[in-house]
Symmetry: D2
Subunit: 346 residues, 4 copies
C-alpha cells in the first residue's frame, strides 16, 4: 500500500485527486495539505467527499511531509512547486508535479514565460508526463511534470501528424475552449457565476498564454523542427471540459494519406484515447468526469486544410487523472488503476 500525499489539496485539482484516489486500491492517502483549511476535514471543504475521504487538511512543512508519505502530488501554483519539489526528491520521494515548473526542458524558455528557475538542473531529469508519448520514461522517473490541460488536448491531437510530416508545421492554428474550473477556486469577480454563465469569450489572445511554450516544445519534438503556433484560449460556461479545434494545411503527403487509419492504429491500444468515427466530432460532455481524450479529424477539400478536434475533461485527463495515470506508471501499478470509470452523460 503506497502512502500518498497531496500538497495543495483544497483547489479543484486537489479535490479531484482525492476523489480519484478514494477509488484506488493500491494507495492510501496519508497527507493533504492546505494552509487555508488546516484543521478541517477535506470532506468539510468539499462535501462531495463525505463518507468517502476522511483525511484532515494540515498545514505541513516539507520536513513534516517527509514522514507522512512516499509519493507526492504537488498541486500548488508554479513557483511554489519549485520550492518544494527538490526537497522531496532529495529525501528519496517520488513526485508528480501538476504545476508548470518542470514541464519545459529549457530553463531560458521557462524564465522568459515565467520567472527565474531555482532548480534548473532538474529540468533535464523531469519527464514530461504524457503517458501516450513518454510511457517508458515515466515508469522510471523520480519526477514527472504533469502536462497542462490545453497542451494535453493539443499534443495528443497533433503528434502523429507532425511525426509523419502530414501537415505543414508553419500553419498551426489552435482555437481552444475551456471550462471554468481551469481558472481555479480563488474568489474573483471574473469567474463569478453571473459573469460566466450564458456567455462566452476569448482571453489571453495574441500569443500570451503560458501554455504556448509547452505546446511548442512538444510539437517541435514531434515534428523534428521548431514549431510556432497561434493559440487562443476561450472561457466556456461549463465546469469541466476542454475542446480544441486545430487547423493545419496538409502537406502533399497528408492530402493523400488515410489519416483516420493512422490515428486508429496509433491510439488503438491506448486505454484513454478514443478516435471517433469519421464525421463524428468530439464533445466535452462525452468525456466528462473521465480520463478520456476523444479525437476526430476532418479534411476540408475546399481549402486543403485539416481540422483536428480534441476533447478532454480538463481536471481529469488535463490534470488529476493524468497525474494518477503517471503515479501508476511510476509505481508499477497497472496504468489504468482507478481511472477506468466511463464518462458520465448526461
Amino acid at each position: 500500500m503506497l502512502h500518498v500525499g497531496i500538497i495543495g489539496a483544497s483547489g479543484y485539482t486537489g479535490v479531484e485527486l482525492a476523489r480519484i484516489l478514494a477509488g484506488h486500491p493500491e494507495i492510501r492517502l496519508t497527507a493533504a495539505t492546505s494552509r487555508q483549511y488546516a484543521g478541517k476535514a477535506l470532506a468539510e471543504v468539499f462535501p462531495n467527499l463525505r463518507k468517502r475521504v476522511d483525511i484532515v487538511c494540515e498545514n505541513l512543512s516539507v520536513e513534516e511531509l517527509l514522514d507522512r508519505a512516499d509519493f507526492f502530488f504537488a498541486a500548488v501554483p508554479h513557483k511554489t512547486a519549485m520550492d518544494i519539489v527538490p526537497r522531496l526528491l532529495d529525501a528519496g520521494k517520488k513526485v508528480v508535479d501538476l504545476s508548470a515548473d518542470y514541464r519545459l526542458h529549457d530553463a531560458a524558455t521557462y524564465e522568459a514565460w515565467y520567472q527565474p528557475h531555482s532548480s534548473p538542473h532538474l529540468l533535464a531529469e523531469a519527464v514530461y508526463g504524457l503517458p501516450e508519448l513518454y510511457r517508458d520514461r515515466i515508469r522510471t522517473a523520480r519526477l514527472t511534470a504533469n502536462p497542462g490541460c490545453y497542451p494535453t488536448s493539443v499534443i495528443l491531437a497533433l503528434a502523429p501528424l507532425l511525426r509523419h510530416g502530414l501537415i505543414d508545421p508553419a500553419t498551426l492554428i489552435i482555437d481552444s475552449k475551456s471550462g471554468t474550473s481551469g481558472a481555479g477556486r480563488a474568489a474573483s469577480v471574473g469567474t463569478l457565476f453571473c459573469e460566466v454563465t450564458d456567455g462566452f469569450k476569448p482571453y489571453k489572445v495574441g500569443g500570451s498564454h503560458r501554455h504556448i511554450p509547452e505546446i511548442e516544445q512538444e510539437l517541435s519534438l514531434a515534428a523534428g523542427q521548431p514549431v510556432t503556433v497561434s493559440f487562443t484560449p476561450h472561457l466556456l460556461p461549463i465546469s469541466r471540459g476542454i475542446l480544441s479545434t486545430i487547423y493545419a494545411t496538409l502537406t502533399e503527403q497528408g492530402r493523400d494519406a488515410d489519416l483516420h487509419a493512422l490515428y486508429e492504429s496509433t491510439y488503438d491500444a491506448e486505454p484513454f484515447v478514443r478516435v471517433l468515427p469519421a464525421g463524428t466530432p468530439p464533445a466535452t460532455q462525452h468525456v466528462r468526469g473521465s480520463n478520456c481524450c476523444d479525437l476526430a479529424l476532418q479534411k476540408d477539400s475546399r481549402t486543403g486544410r485539416l481540422i483536428v478536434m480534441s476533447a478532454i475533461d480538463n481536471i481529469v485527463k488535463g490534470a488529476s487523472g493524468q497525474a494518477v495515470q503517471n503515479m501508476n506508471l511510476m509505481n508499477g501499478f497497472p496504468e489504468t488503476t482507478g481511472l477506468l470509470g466511463a464518462p458520465f452523460f448526461p
Copy 2:
C-alpha cells in the same frame, strides 16, 4: 459472473445503468434492447461509453431475452413494463423494474393514478426497492420495484420522523426540484435547451404528479396511519439532481427531541446516506454522479416547524444506481459493489 440484460437501454436510465455496470466486477452485460437504435452499438448512441461498453442494441422479444441473461433491468415506461416483467419472472429470471408498475401495493390506487393493471397479483410479491428500508426483503425478492426519483428523496428524508411520531403527518408539504434528465430523452419542445436554461418553473401543481401515491404509501407505512401530502415538483436547469425541501409541524415530542442525533444513528451505517452537520444544507452538486442521498434538518423555532432537506442524483440514487444496489442485494453481492464512487465536484 451474472449475465445481465437492460431492457430499454437507450434512455437516460439505460445509459447510466450501462455506465455503472461497466465498472461492476461481478456481472457481464449480455443484452441491451432498443427498438429505435437496434443494430447500433450502445456506445454509438452514447459516445461517453466508447472503449468502456461494447454491447450492441437489439430489438429482442421477451423470448429471445430469456436466453441472453439471468437478471434484468426493465428500464421501459410504465405499462410497457407490466407487459414484460411477468414473463421474465415466469421463466425464472429476477428483475429490477425501474417503472412505476410494481411500486404500489394496492391495485386500485395504481389504477386510479395510471391505468388498469394486467398483473395485480404481483403487487403483493414485488418488494419496494428502497434498501435502507427494505434491505432484507430485497435480498430474497424475485421482483424489486425500483422507487421513483422524487419518492426516494422524500422517503429517506421523512421515514425516521414519522416512525417516531416526531412530526404531524397532516402537515407535510414537499417542495421538490428536479434536474431535466428526469424528463427523459424523448424529443420535445418543453425540454429543449433554450426552453429550460436560465429558467425555473413548477409543473403538475396541485396534487397531480404520479409520484404522490408512491410517497404516500411509504410515508403511511412509516407513520402507521394514512398520510396525505402536498407535493409540488419543479424543473431545474441542471441535468442531474433532485433537492426536496420538506416542511412539517413538529409534535410536542418532536420539539424536544434531538433530531440530528436520531438521523445520525439511523443512517450512520448506511453507505449511501449522509447526514450533514447542523447548519449545512445539502446541495445537488455534492451528490452528482453518485449513489448518495444527503440529508439535513433544521428546526424553525419561530413557527414550530421542521424543515428537512434531501439531495440525490436523480439518475443514480433516484434510478440506475439504486437499481444496481438492489441487484447487488438480490444476488448476494456486497451491496456497494460498483457504487462507491464519490460524487463529482465541481
Copy 3:
C-alpha cells in the same frame, strides 16, 4: 429633464439601473458613484453599456452629490444607506433607497434583524415602495424604500388572499428560489461559477433570512393581524429570476371562492402584474429582463391547500426596475416610462 444620480453604481443593481435609465426619456443620469472604480467609465466596468451610457464613476461625498442631481437611487448596502439618505433628504432631494434600511416601519424590528438604526424618525415617513399596494403614497413620498426581491414576489402573490380572509395566515409556507445575481458582485468562493452551475441548494434555512420581517410586516398589514411565515430561500443556477412557491390552507371562504377571478380583477389594470390562466405555472424565463411579476394559483383539493406561484426578475421588478417605477411615480412621469420592454425569451 430630471437629473438623477446612482449611489453605488458598480453592483448588479447599479448596472441594471443604468441600463434602464439609458432608455428613459425624462431623465438624465448625471452622477454614478463607485469607490472601487472611480475614474473609470461605467461602460468600462460593464461593457454591455458601451455606446449607451457614457457616465464616469466617481468617488463623491454626499456634499458633492448634492450639486449633481435632484433625485437619487441609493444602491448601497444597508447601514451604508442610512448614513447617506437623511442628508440627501435634508438637502431637499428625493430618494429611492434600494437597501433594507427604511423598509421596516418598526425600529425595534429593524434592530433585531440588522443593527441600531441611526435615523429611526424616517421609518414613519418612508413609503414601502410596492406601487401595486402603495401607489398613491409613493407619488408624494420624499423617501421610498424599495422592497426586497423575495418580498416583492411574495407580497404581490399573497396580499389579495389575506385581505379577503381566504387563507389561514398561520399556515403560510414560502419556498423561494433565486438566481445568483441576488448575491451581488463581490468576489466570493460560494458564488463562483463552478460552485453554482449545475447545482441547487437552500440557504439560511429555519427562519433566519433578513427578508422575513419585511414579508411579515406587509402580510400582517394585508391580513389585519400578525402573520408569521416559514421562509426558505434557495440558490438557482441562473443569473436572474425569483420563483416563489407558496403554500397556505384555504379558509372555508377560500375553498368556495373563485380565486382566479379575484386575482384577475385585482391585477387587471396593473401594467406589470400578469395573472396566468388556470393550469399555467409561471416561469422565471418568461419574466427575464422585464419589470413583470407573473402569478398563478392552484387549489389542491386533496389537502385543502392553495399553492400560489410568483415569478419576477430579481434585478428588475425585484430591484432596479421597481426603483425606476417608484421614481416615475415620485416625479409625475407615467408609471411605465422606460419599463415596458417585454421579457426576453429565449
Copy 4:
C-alpha cells in the same frame, strides 16, 4: 402607422421580432402566421409576451396576408420563403426575408448549396441586408435578404481589412461558436437541455455549413477577389450569442497599419457596432438581448497573424434585430427605432 406582418411567428426569430416590434412606435403588428399554433394568442405560445403583444396566430394564405399588412417579415425556412416572397412583392409589398433564399447573388451557388431556385430573377434585385455595408441600397429596396447569423458576425469583422488589403485572403480561418437558439425551436434530441448543457462541440466541420457561400460572397466583394474560407461552427451551452474568432495572416501593409484606428474610424458612427479597446476581447454576455456587434483585434507578433473577434446576439443582430433595422431603413424611419436597448448583463 405601418402595418406589419410576421410570416412564421412561432419560432425563436418570430417571438423576437414580436418582442422588438412591441416597443416600436411607428408600426402596428397586424398579422402573425403559424400553422401549428393557429388560433392561439402568440402570448400563449410565448408567455413572455403577455400584456405586451396581443396578436393571435393564424394560418393565412398569401392572398389573405395581402390585406393584412403592407410590410412583411418572412421568418420561415429557406425554400418555403421563395414560395411566398415573390407573390408579396408582386402585390406591391415590401419584404425582409430572414431565410437564405435571397442572400446569394448567384443562382448556381444557391443551387449548389441548397436546391433549385424558383425565382432566380429576384437574386439580382434583392439587397443583402447588412446596413453597415449596404445602407443606401436597403433604403430603396423592395426585398432585403436578412443576413445569416454567422455571416453577420464574420463580415462586420473582416470587411475593413479585406477592403484595404491588410490581410491575406487565402489564410482566413473562422472558428465560430453559437448559442443553441440558432438551431431553432423544433423538437429534436440533439438540442434537448441534457444533451447541450455543460457541454461543447463542433458540428458541420470541414466546409459543409451553408453559411459558407454567403460569407465568401461578401468577403470576396470586400476583397475584390475570390475568397475561400475555413469555417467551423460550434454549439455553445447558452441561448443567445455568437462569438467568432478569426485568424488571418497580415500582409506587409497590415503588419505596419494601425488596425485599431481603422476600425474605430470605420465604425465610429455606427450605432450598433462597438470597437473594443485594445486588449479587451468581446464576450457574448455583453451583447445579449441587443442589436450590438462588438469587435476587437489583436496582432500576434510571434506568428504574423491577426486575430479578429466578433460577438453578436444571434437572434437580434444575427436575425430579428437586424431585420427591424432593415425595416426601419426601407420605410424611412430612424434606423435605430426600437433597437437602442442596451444589452442586459448579468
